[in-house]
């Protein structure tokens, strides 16, 4: 008995000390001071201190772990151990200054390190009396929609924990209305009398842009079996004849888009429901343009010569109609085939410049290890490896053989065709002339890949399509906007102008 006690009592004490120690360890490792001892990111510390979670108005301060770990009992220890090990590894092996902390604050990435269950743990009541009308609609949608991982609190409340300059989640009525220094206004558009590249001028604005004459020809549309990263929808390869047309040198810029927005935007709403109600009474010649956006369409990246983003396919089509009206020419979206013909510029290789997609695919550490030379692709394309995580201005890249810039990368581009995976096999046999795609469908073709994509999706033949439902998920307005996508900032478009009697064809 004595011997038992000799062992038992010290054992008991040691055990208790260990448990107390472990508990103390958990507490210590959950303090803000401990977090920032490894996470050396002064920007994130600062933006947290400027956020509503730091100054909540009630005196309660929300700590790092309250958002960046799940609540206790919901895999708390597991996540703590997992992220702790990862952080230790990074601390020893990486330079924290080399991380792009802003990139980590982007929605898709932030979803991975902000726990919705933690949001809900504190914000139990989604219908507080102080909630606005828009908030009621949005929270009702959240409550009634089947839970999907994409529907996360931070879709709308991204700036709750870290302040973001210029972040708006509200109707942005002043968007695009900032007065700029008075510039000379173009009184009329440019007359085009022969098939040559020209610089278009948008009347009543100071905006101009280059249109490149693309000669007609025959080319092979699609990718041959065996091309790296090829998908089934890129075939079968078809011979296509294309008539001459003009194509914009660069993707429609914010300057161009805002000229349209300033001249046509309307207050209030125009929706399908309303169309149903009022019938087809809208007059044919007056183009009524976009309603004010919700939030910040340029994502705070700046406007000017950067490609315009966040607007809908419907808005892009309306832009073309408007541009045709004010210039007296026939502007429209390119067909998918025109787009690929223009992108290839006579080449038959995966890109319009030399190189193997597989060698360009790797980024970061893997690229450095494999010692693949990405100089060539870097000089032509804004993509995941060099963007960094946002659109860039067109002056940073070299043009393709036709003189077009950013055909691939930067932003993906709307084409006028309905998307169908087997579209190429649906055309009649033999040489096809100026095909326009399937007659109907649910989603439109987008081409060219974007700054979010890796090399494989940037090949001339790669196809993609719009995802209307997903791209409107967090628009809290009722009804959702037909002009702006709330959750799509990687798609823009490029205009083509028809070579017809208005542009010198006889």
């Amino acid at each position: 008995m004595k011997r038992f006690l000799i062992w038992f009592i010290p054992g008991l004490i040691a055990g208790m000390l260990i448990i107390l120690g472990m508990n103390k360890l958990l507490v210590i490792t959950s303090t803000n001071e401990f977090c920032v001892s490894c996470h050396i990111h002064p920007e994130a510390d600062m933006s947290w201190k400027r956020s509503v979670h730091y100054e909540t108005g009630s005196g309660f301060r929300v700590a790092c772990v309250e958002c960046h770990l799940p609540p206790k009992g919901e895999k708390y220890l597991w996540e703590k151990a997992r992220t702790g090990l990862r952080d230790l590894w990074s601390y020893w092996t990486k330079d924290s200054a080399s991380f792009d902390w802003n990139e980590r604050g982007r929605l898709e990435i932030a979803r991975g390190h902000v726990f919705e269950s933690s949001c809900i743990k504190c914000h139990e009541n989604l219908f507080p009396l102080t909630l606005s009308k828009e908030g009621e609609d949005a929270h009702l949608y959240y409550k009634q929609t089947k839970k999907t991982p994409e529907l996360h609190c931070i879709n709308c409340h991204l700036n709750a924990g870290h302040y973001i300059e210029g972040y708006t989640h509200g109707s942005n009525v002043t968007f695009g209305m900032t007065p700029s220094a008075p510039k000379e206004l173009f009184m009329e558009s440019v007359k085009v009398t022969e098939f040559e590249s020209f610089t278009e001028q948008i009347p009543n604005s100071s905006v101009s842009f280059s249109m490149i004459a693309i000669p007609g020809g025959i080319f092979k549309m699609g990718s041959p079996a065996g091309e790296p990263f090829r998908k089934d929808d890129e075939g079968p390869v078809r011979d296509v004849e294309i008539s001459p047309f003009f194509m914009a040198e660069v993707e429609v810029t914010w300057d161009e888009y805002l000229a349209f927005y300033a001249q046509t935007s309307v207050e209030g709403k125009s929706t399908d429901t309303q169309k149903m109600r009022s019938g087809m009474t809208a007059s044919a010649d007056a183009i009524s343009g976009a309603t004010p956006p919700y939030g910040q369409p340029d994502q705070g990246w700046g406007m000017g010569q950067r490609p315009a983003i966040s607007f809908s396919f419907h808005a892009a089509e309306t832009y073309c109609k408007w541009l045709s009206q004010v210039t007296g020419k026939t502007y429209r979206l390119p067909t998918e085939t025109e787009w690929e013909y223009a992108c290839r510029g006579g080449t038959t290789t995966p890109y319009f410049f030399p190189g193997d997609p597989q060698k360009f695919q790797k980024t970061g550490m893997k690229a450095r290890l494999s010692k693949n030379d990405t100089t060539v692709i870097n000089s032509y394309i804004i993509y995941k490896a060099n963007s960094p995580s946002k659109t860039q201005t067109p002056d940073l890249v070299k043009p393709n053989p036709f003189g077009l810039k950013n055909m691939t990368g930067n932003v993906a581009e709307f084409c006028s065709d309905w998307y169908q995976p087997d579209a190429y096999s649906l055309y009649p046999e033999g040489l096809i002339k100026d095909p326009k795609g399937p007659e109907s469908g649910d989603e439109r073709v987008i081409r060219g890949g974007s700054f979010l994509d890796m090399a494989g999706s940037l090949r001339s033949a790669a196809r993609s399509f719009t995802r209307t439902g997903e791209w409107l998920r967090t628009d809290p307005q009722m009804p959702k906007s037909i002009w702006w996508y709330s959750d799509c900032f990687h798609v823009g478009f490029r205009v083509v102008c028809e070579f017809d009697e208005k542009t010198g064809k006889y």
Partner: protein, 448 residues
């Protein structure tokens, strides 16, 4: 006065009833739970609410139903008072005050009798615990929001809105009220009617197999109308003639037929996702409403409900529901039949003086819903029917819009529609808004 002696256990049993009837069924939207469930909630009924500290109610909307609801409330149990009343019109307030005095011996203080468009807010602010609402449904979303903001329990008549924007507002108010543990009873009294609830339990237990189809009817004679009166402004006339104006009543498919649609939603624990309807106007004297509707509603799993409603004299009348299952069918009311039409179960009514089962001896559901409300408040077991009733109201609105436009309407369209009926400016004078009677296939422009 004889106090009802009720044990705590019975309270709990009752709370389960309320919960079952009110909440369990359509927590909805996640889809269709039409598989026969083996576990049937136990239901026990109280004939009188338990005693407790005084509960004070205020009445908003002093017409026949508002006054009737006030008296039902006072009959629901001991220590209940109506201490404030309000209406747009003074004659209504006076009549209501007199009826309460005559029938229940309670005198509402004159300083607590409010007249005008803002009467509802003054009733809410008059120190009441419960607000009874029976104004035309157009006003309901705003009044519900104000009452919940003031943390009042509510008895509200159905329907709870007349348009999609109103429905969404009420849904949000319902969820807010749940967060506040408020009790809200919504005048869908079939859910408090003992034979209906017993039949619902049978169906839940699989008595008719899987639900395969449904019918809902509200075919009756002409309701009523009021001719314009020279001493009234147009606004006053419209409100007094409210059952003939869509912006005020929602049209009769919403105003009355919502009861039957709500029964189908309740029994199926779901709501339709789309509708194609038709309707027309032949006999109405005033207003812009239709006389009849016929709507094909489709539920998430493809089940169809046919709904019809009419207000025309001299035609076949029928107010009922019918649900067809794979093993039989039911009138939802008191009987289960097998596929051959043979009665296999019948609700056991209380016996009358001659010893025969009689539905007349059954508890009045209009009283039962108030007993259930007071019991829920006094036992601290809140229940809240508002979201379900908003869903059933929007179901009816979806059918109405389809009939008015001639087009298919979907639930998603309803949840995304910004349609808000009624005039933009609200005062006693000319009412500036479109008053055209909708023509299917033509543009439908109800908004000013």
């Amino acid at each position: 006065m004889k106090k009802p002696s009720i044990s705590r256990r019975k309270f709990l049993g009752k709370a389960v009833t309320a919960g079952a009837a009110g909440i369990v069924a359509p927590s909805i939207i996640t889809g269709c739970a039409r598989e026969p469930k083996k576990k049937i909630p136990e239901v026990s009924w109280l004939d009188l609410a338990p005693d407790g500290p005084v509960l004070k109610a205020g009445v908003i909307g002093c017409g026949g139903r508002g006054t009737g609801a006030a008296i039902n409330f006072l009959n629901a149990g001991p220590n209940l008072q109506v201490v404030a009343i309000g209406d747009t019109f003074k004659d209504r307030v006076d009549q209501c005050r007199e009826s309460i005095l005559k029938e229940k011996g309670q005198e509402v203080a004159l300083e607590n009798c409010f007249v005008g468009f803002d009467a509802y807010q003054r009733v809410i602010d008059a120190g009441v615990d419960i607000v009874i609402m029976a104004t035309p449904p157009y006003f309901r979303p705003e009044q519900l929001a104000a009452a919940v903001a003031a943390r009042k329990h509510i008895f509200t008549e159905k329907p709870v809105c007349v348009d999609p924007a109103g429905a969404r507002s009420v849904m949000a108010t319902a969820l807010r009220a749940k967060e506040m543990d408020l009790t809200i009873v919504t005048g869908t009294q079939r859910r408090h009617q003992r034979n209906y609830v017993a039949t619902w339990q049978q169906v839940l237990g699989g008595a008719i197999g899987q639900i395969a189809g449904a019918n809902a009817y509200w075919n009756q004679s002409k309701l009523w109308h009021r001719e314009a009166n020279k001493s009234w402004t147009e606004m006053e006339w419209m409100i007094r003639d409210w059952v003939n104006w869509t912006w005020l009543s929602g049209d009769h498919i919403v105003e009355q037929h919502v009861h039957n649609l709500d029964v189908i939603n309740w029994f199926t624990a779901s709501h339709p996702v789309k509708a194609v309807g038709m309707g027309s106007r032949h006999r109405r004297v005033t207003g812009d409403q239709y006389d009849n509707f016929s709507v094909d509603f489709v539920y998430p799993d493809g089940m169809h409900m046919h709904s019809m409603c009419r207000q025309i004299n001299g035609c076949a009348n029928n107010v009922s529901e019918r649900i067809q299952g794979t093993k039989g069918f039911t009138n939802c009311y008191d009987t289960i039949y097998d596929l051959a039409g043979t009665e296999v179960w019948k609700y056991g009514y209380p016996l009358d003086d001659e010893g025969k089962p009689s539905s007349r001896k059954m508890m009045d559901p209009y009283l039962q819903e108030h007993i259930d409300m007071v019991t829920a408040i006094r036992t601290g077991k809140p229940f809240n029917e508002l979201e379900n009733t908003a869903i059933s109201t929007l179901t009816a609105i979806m059918g109405r819009i389809s009939a008015y436009t001639g087009k298919e309407t979907t639930w998603e369209e309803m949840m995304n529609s910004d349609l808000r009926l009624g005039p933009k400016v609200f005062d006693f004078g000319k009412v500036d808004m479109p008053k055209d009677i909708p023509v299917p296939g033509e543009p439908y422009v109800p908004q000013a």
